[in-house]
């Protein structure tokens, strides 16, 4: 079973790549990109094979260094994890292609440290998707966070301050998570997720301590994923970071954290614990998610900068997924898991488009976008596909996850949440058509052009092609929703759903 090791190659390739890059990079900048693309391609190939293997054979696990669990660290490759590594490695390869151009333009001499951090971040995300150990999860979470702090600080203007504020908030989140793990360890004496899952139901009479642990874990992760109202750090951080980093961080960070919440909820604790033993909590969280969706959408309306607007939309989307998971029925969870994939892809598409636009227009304030459909038709076409997916227009994938979320909401009788989803779709429609309208109409001052054709000046191929691929993926994944749900997501739901 050589497949048992494949995911390790996928995990170590970017890590080794990062070290190589930093060590050998001094020799010259020409080898930077080959190392980056080489390691990410290996990672992607490994993920594809592991994914295929999981589909055929089923989940398997791997003990690092042959230390048997519960003492050693276990890597678990189940359906959800395999889906996540496939998502992470494909998104990161597409993002890296685009980054290679925008970084060359923005950060000339700092390209090497940038890509070193970039690869470590990807390795960290990859590890998060696989780990079966609660403490290891903390370490990997901090690896991804620290690299993210660094990448954000590479941006211009206010970036350093935004990064510092993110450090403070992020550390609070991480400490809360660590505290929760501490409680669990004191209660159970183990850190292995499978072990915790087995022992927790046996703990009688320690309900208060267990609930405290659970609350700390959740709040910690919520801060990291920017769940309303713990989202304050996100808009600045996501607006100020370099374009090259945004295309990677925006699609993946929040989504992977939501995946971690699924791990904590269903792999460490169990649906019985969350939904049956503590019924009231579920109502409250779905309610908060609904309020969060509405507030974040409303705040997005007030923005005059494309990337800042997208940042608020991301916060609203986090509400979609958290709410969907806490609906406590199979449809809602299916929708949430599907939305992790879909939201990552549509955020990728929109941020790639934003990066391409920034590359040509020098910024993302709405005023700069006038007449853009004429100047960058392909970029705008891809942007429109991404926008339609965010609004939820079939056959783009955004429609189908929203469909499941709405079905789940109706089944659970959570009308507030259903209303919030529809409200947010409408707001997204307003948001994106405002941009499309600006881009479609020529600049008012373009008197000298006389309405005649302006020259087409697309973004460079390295930025355009991943963008077009991601836009095509939105439709492809949308049409493939049936098989994805049937063959992957159904197995990713916790037992009993």
């Amino acid at each position: 079973m050589s497949f048992l090791n494949l995911h390790m190659y996928g995990l170590t390739a970017p890590l080794v790549g990062a070290m190589l890059l930093y060590a050998a990079g001094r020799l010259g900048s020409r080898i930077t990109l080959p190392i980056v693309f080489g390691s990410l391609s290996i990672s992607l190939a490994a993920s594809v094979l592991v994914f295929a293997e999981v589909l055929h054979v089923g989940p398997f696990s791997y003990t690092v260094g042959n230390w048997e669990p519960p003492y050693g660290i276990e890597l678990v490759v189940d359906h959800l994890g395999a889906l996540m590594i496939l998502l992470i490695s494909s998104v990161s390869l597409a993002a890296a292609l685009s980054s290679s151009r925008s970084v060359a333009a923005d950060l000339h001499e700092r390209r090497r440290p940038f890509f070193t951090l970039y690869l470590i971040l990807i390795a960290g995300l990859y590890g998060l998707a696989l780990t079966g150990d609660a403490f290891n999860l903390y370490v990997l979470l901090e690896i991804t966070s620290i690299t993210t702090y660094g990448l954000i600080a590479l941006g211009r203007g206010r970036a350093a301050l935004s990064s510092f504020n993110y450090i403070v908030m992020g550390s609070i989140g991480a400490c809360f998570y660590l505290l929760g793990i501490g409680y669990l360890y004191i209660l159970t004496g183990t850190l292995n997720m499978a072990d915790l899952h087995r022992i927790i139901p046996l703990l009688d009479g320690r309900g208060a301590a267990l609930a405290t642990a659970f609350a700390f874990l959740m709040v910690g992760l919520w801060i990291k994923m920017a769940f309303f109202p713990l989202h304050v750090w996100l808009p600045n951080a996501y607006t100020d970071m370099p374009d090259g980093a945004a295309v990677l961080i925006a699609p993946l960070m929040t989504k992977v954290t939501i995946f971690l919440m699924i791990r904590v909820m269903f792999s460490i604790f169990s649906p019985v614990y969350e939904f049956i033993q503590h019924m009231g909590v579920q109502q409250t969280i779905v309610g908060v998610a609904a309020v969060g969706i509405v507030c974040a959408s409303a705040m997005a309306l007030g923005q005059r900068d494309l990337r800042r607007m997208l940042a608020y939309i991301i916060i609203a989307e986090v509400g979609y997924m958290v709410g969907g998971l806490w609906l406590a029925n199979a449809k809602g969870m299916t929708g949430a898991i599907l939305h992790i994939v879909n939201d990552a892809l549509m955020t990728l598409c929109l941020f790639l488009a934003a990066a391409a636009i920034a590359h040509r227009c020098g910024g993302m304030e709405f005023d700069r976008l006038q007449g853009l459909t004429r100047r960058m038709p392909l970029t705008m076409a891809a942007f429109i596909v991404g926008a339609l997916s965010m609004i939820g227009v079939p056959p783009t994938c955004g429609f189908f996850s929203k469909w499941y979320l709405l079905l789940g909401g109706i089944e659970a009788g959570q009308w507030l949440y259903v209303g919030a989803l529809i409200f947010s779709s409408l707001v997204n429609a307003v948001l994106f058509f405002r941009i499309i309208e600006i881009a479609f109409f020529p600049a008012a001052a373009a008197g000298d052009h006389g309405g005649g054709p302006q020259t087409v000046r697309e973004a460079p191929q390295a930025m355009l092609q991943p963008l077009l691929v991601s836009a095509a993926a939105l439709i492809g994944v949308g049409l493939a929703t049936g098989p994805i749900v049937e063959r992957v997501v159904r197995f990713a739901l916790p037992v009993g759903f």
Binding site: Y138, V139, G150, A160, I167, S171, I172, L178, L179
Partner: protein
């Protein structure tokens, strides 16, 4: 009242950590000087590390280095040694905390270079302008 007091006295170490955490938390949220925020963050992390370490300690427990011969003859007497796992984990946590502090300090230097101050309100004022 009596029992509550007993409870506090019996677990006084944990209560100290809670107090430490609150101090750190206050500094992170309430202070406007960025270095003080960072120090608050460190206090916060230290409190959690201490909590883990306390969890591993046992009264009268020795160091967890065992003589192979003795173990083979008499087996391990768990009560006689402290639990090493939390301590090992905290080594990792300390590494994480130090790295975060390092990154944060580097960023603070950049902020200072860029704005000439580390007071948050003054920086915001400069950005506004």
């Amino acid at each position: 009242m009596e029992t509550l007091l007993d409870e506090i006295v019996a677990k006084y170490n944990y209560w100290i950590y809670v107090v430490l955490m609150m101090i750190g938390f206050y500094a992170m949220i309430g202070k406007s000087n960025l270095v003080k925020k960072l120090i608050g963050m460190n206090i916060f992390q230290t409190a959690i590390i201490l909590m883990f370490i306390s969890a591993g300690v046992k009264k009268g427990g020795g160091i967890p280095i065992l003589d192979k011969q003795a173990v083979l003859e008499r087996g391990v007497e768990a009560a006689s040694i402290v639990n090493p796992l939390p301590h090992v984990l905290m080594l990792t946590a300390i590494v994480v905390a130090v790295s975060v502090t390092g990154v944060a300090l580097a960023i603070l230097q950049r902020i200072h270079g860029q704005f000439g101050t580390l007071e948050e309100d003054e920086i915001l004022e400069k950005i506004e302008r």
